[in-house]
Structure formats: C-alpha cells, structure tokens
Amino acid sequence: MLSGYLVTVLITIGIYIILALSLNLITGYAGQISLGHAAFMGIGAYTSALFYTKAGLGFWPSFLLAGLVAGLLGTILAIPCLRVREDFLAITTMGINFVVEATFLYIPFFGAGMGIGGIDLPHFFGQEISKSGYLALVVLVIGLMIALDRWLTRSWIGLAWAAIREDEEAAGAMGIDVVRFKVLAFALGSAGAGLAGSLYAHFLTFIMPVNFSFAQSMVILSMVVFGGIGTLRGPIVGAIVLGALPEISRPAMEYRTLVYGLLLLLLMRFQPGGILGEHSLLPRSWRKLCTAMQNGKTGQ
C-alpha cells in the first residue's frame, strides 16, 4: 500500500505529465512556441470547478466539459496566434496567459481573489474514490495521452506538423493546410491541458488564479524541454524529474529553489537536447550499450 504522501506526490507528477505531453503537441511536434500553457490548464480547472460547485454537475461531466471548453477556447485563441510567428507568438501566448489569469482574478463570477473551494474528489458508485483510485485515474489519462501521441505522430497529422515545424513556407508550398494543422495542435494541446486542469482542481479541492500564472507555464515548458522536446519519453521524464525535485530537494531547505534553477541552467548548457533528447548523452550511451550487447550476442 502506497503512503498518502507518496500518492500525493505521484498525482502531482502525473498531472504535470499530462500537461507536458499536451504542450509537447503544440511546441514539440508542431513547433509553435507557447509561453501560456497554464492559461488552458486554468480554463479547464475553472470550468470543472464551476460546473461542479455552481451547476451541481458531477465530476465526470465536469471533467469532460473542462477538456471540451479548454479545447474550444484554445481553438479560438489560436486565431490571433496564427498571425504571428516565433518571438511574436511567444509574446502573444504569454499575453493570453496574463489576460486569462486577470479574468479569473478580477471577475467575481470566477471567485476573484477568493478562489473557488469545495471541489471534491470524484465519486465512484456513490463513494468518494480514494487517493490511490484518483492516481489510477490520472495514470489512465496519461495512458490515453500517450496513445493519442503515438497515433498522431504516426499519422499524416504528425508528418504535417513536422513539416510545419521545420519550414512553414515549404510546408505550405507542398500543399499542407498550415492554418488547419496549427489550429489542430492548439486545440488538442489545450484540451489536454484542460483535462489536466480539471484533475488538478479536484485534487487540490481549492483553486486560485495564481495557480495558473505565467510562472506555472514556465514550469510546464521547462519540463518539456528538460526531458527532451519533440519526443514522447522526454516530457514524461522531464515532468517526473522536475515534478519530484521539489520533494527530493527538501533537505536542501532554503537552497532548494537554487538547486532547481541551477539544474535547469546546467542541463540546458551541457545537454541542450534534454536528458532524453534524440542526441543527448543518456540515450546515446544506452543505444551504444544495446548495440554492443547485440554485437556480443551475434559474435558468440
């Protein structure tokens, strides 16, 4: 039996994995830099919280609506993002994050500075599910995200995204509908973030606008890049390492945030592809090891 503490940490990491995987669709595969992913996590969290506490809907409909609303708003907000590229896109997505946070913070309907409380864990057959049960749900969603990721990258969509990422003009010239595929990336990524936001809200039971700030977006983006952007394993491992780091570094007390910053800095400097990026040290040596072992076997 896992301890409540361990389950808590694992749920947090699990939610970050979903967030990192969903951002990876936008920034990793489609190559559209987004500095405002937490906005869609927030939209999901608030949608779920409002449907659950104010409309009296259960967890399951709230959860699905969170993904739907976040995906829809992601589609709408992708429209201004289509007009701009690269750093202009970075600033636009950053701006969206600030505006969304301010909306939660200043409009009383969203609870304003008081936040929204009383968002309980889901019920299953009339019983509140245990923390371990919730972890299982999170893992299930991760599984679905991985399946979606595999399906997308192996389909025509993944190829189109790769083409847009490498050279947008060339992709357009080849007859790829750049706008449609970009919007699709934003829609899917935002929907994933919305689901994660809903899971986050029901796990914490209380949400405040500041939980979905620009700083949170940076945390998610760091996880994606830290692990290895544009791969499946990268964001997962990035979320695990950077999600666990605050707990692992607890003994460092007042140096723990310093450790976090330095780790990001040094990893980017010396392993710019992330710990598990295509050309990074760990996967390379692992592949070498595998080939060596295989060669050894065939040699016998």
């Binding site: 505006v99 946070e101 983006l221 760091s222």
Partner: protein
C-alpha cells in the same frame, strides 16, 4: 487630473524604456529571449547598493554597478548563449530561466529576503510643460533615460564601433566577411547592454527606494514583451513601445478606470498591435 495621469504615464514609459534599453541591444545581436537580463538588472541594484554603502558616492557606485554588470553580461553570453546559438531558440530560453531563478535565489541567500532601502535621495527639480508637470523623481528618471538614449544614439550612429554593432545585428555573417570580429562585437554589445541593465537597476532602486531579490521578476517578461513589440531589437521601436505601453496602462487604469491589472491591459494592447503589425511596431516585413 488628466495631465497628471499623462505625466504618470510618461514616467512609467521612461522606466520601461530605461529597463528595456540594454535588452534591446542584446536582443538585436543574438536574438535570444534573454530572461536573465532581469537578473543582471537586480544584480546591478544590489552591487550599486553595496558600493554606495562603502563609497558613499552615488555616481561612483553607479559606475561600479555598470562595470560589474558588464562583466556578468559577457560571462552569460560566452558561457550560456553563444554555445547554444545553433540550437532551437527554446533551449537558451529555458537555460536563461534557470539562470534567472538561480540568480534570484542567490540574491536572497546572500543579501537576505527583506527589501533593502537605498538610504539616499537624489534631489532634482520638477520639470513641466504648460499644465503637464512631472514630479521631481519622475523628472529625474525621465531625464536620465533621455540622456542614456542620447548617448546610445551617438555611440551607434557616430562611431565605428556603433557601425559594427549595427551591422552585426543586421547580418552577422556578412559583417564577418568584411573583417569585423563579430564575436568581439557580440560580447561588447552584451557588455554595454548589461551595463545599461545595471544602471537601470541602480536608478530604479533609488526611484523606488527598495532593492529586493525578486525585483527582476516583472521586468523579466515585461521588457521582453516590449522589445518584441518594438520590432525585435529595434531601438527606436523599443522606446516607442515603452512609452506607448506606459501611457496606455496608466490612462486605462487612471482615466478610463478599467478594473483590470496593469499587465493584462498592457498585453491586450500588445496583442492588438501585433494583429495589425505582426512584425512589431517598427519591425520590417
């Protein structure tokens, strides 16, 4: 009241222009999202404060802060950015965020978590034009910003170094073929840009009378946004964007009284501008 609010807006614009100036130069030559520039800004404020306590001369401590920040800037450029230039832009961005977090924490660990007071006040006169009147501190910040802008303009348009810098910012490869040591120029640009950040840190430190570990966290994103809005390292563009944002924020809060936070208003304005000018205010193309 309208005139006072316009004055407030101009002063806010001057503060933005001052903090953004260095970043604009740096951005122009390397095109990195240099978040840690705000760390250098805070470093300048701390170094200036310590120097002031020892030297008891404001202008001398300003100089010390600028020199230290210039050195720090070169270090960041050589150690962090130049080796990562050939990689996707997101890599130096995350490295820069890591550096910025580490710097903020280092300030707190070394200088303590509490805000420190500058314990000095520069007397200045209040400037005005008709009914438009800046308060004394506003006048000071406005004058200093204009002075630095003027110096920078002279440097860039009247000196060989300036010419090399502009050429490098425009097209580093072609410039190199003319026999210009572009690596040196990049480093020098970083040094000057960082010295300007340090100066901004000291001046804003005195202006607000406080220096604290996370004082860079707002400039970190705000200055980047202004630089990009201005047109990716275009200096006149940045200055224009600074004053535009400063005025827009102040008037929307102070005259129209929209109950929305400053940053959100600024970003709404920026996104609107970008919809019409997707390459920035004075960007080309």
């Amino acid at each position: 009241m309208l005139f006072q609010q316009i004055a407030n807006g101009i002063a806010t614009g001057a503060v933005y222009a001052l903090t953004t100036l260095g970043l604009t130069m740096v951005y122009g030559v390397l095109r990195v999202l240099h978040v840690a520039h705000a760390g250098i800004y805070a470093l300048g404020a701390y170094v200036g404060l310590v120097a002031f306590r020892f030297l008891e001369s404001f202008w001398l401590s300003l100089l010390v802060a600028m020199v230290v920040c210039a050195a720090a800037g070169i270090l960041v450029e050589r150690f962090l950015y130049t080796p990562l230039l050939h990689l996707p832009r997101i890599v130096p961005l995350i490295g820069s965020i890591g550096l910025f977090i580490a710097m903020e924490e280092a300030f707190r660990i070394v200088a303590g978590p509490y805000a420190l007071a500058y314990e000095t006040e520069i007397r200045f006169l209040s400037l005005g034009l008709g009914p438009l009147r800046l308060t004394a501190p506003q006048s000071l910040i406005f004058t200093v910003t204009m002075l630095l802008l003027g110096l920078l303009w002279l440097l860039l348009s009247r000196s060989t170094l300036g010419l090399a810098m502009r050429a490098t910012a425009m097209d580093a490869d072609t410039t190199a073929t003319f026999g210009v040591d572009t690596r040196l120029i990049v480093s020098l640009t970083f040094a000057i840009g960082s010295a300007l950040a340090g100066a901004a840190g000291v001046l804003i430190g005195v202006y607000d009378n406080q220096v604290w570990p996370t004082m860079g966290s707002i400039p970190a994103y705000k200055c980047l946004a202004i630089v990009v809005l201005g047109g990716l390292g275009n200096i006149p563009g940045s200055v224009l964007a600074s004053f535009l944002i400063g005025l827009a924020e102040t008037l929307l809060i102070g005259v129209v009284a929209i109950p929305f936070p400053r940053d959100a208003l600024a970003f709404v304005a920026m996104i609107l501008v970008l919809m019409f000018r997707p390459r920035g205010l004075l960007g080309k193309g």
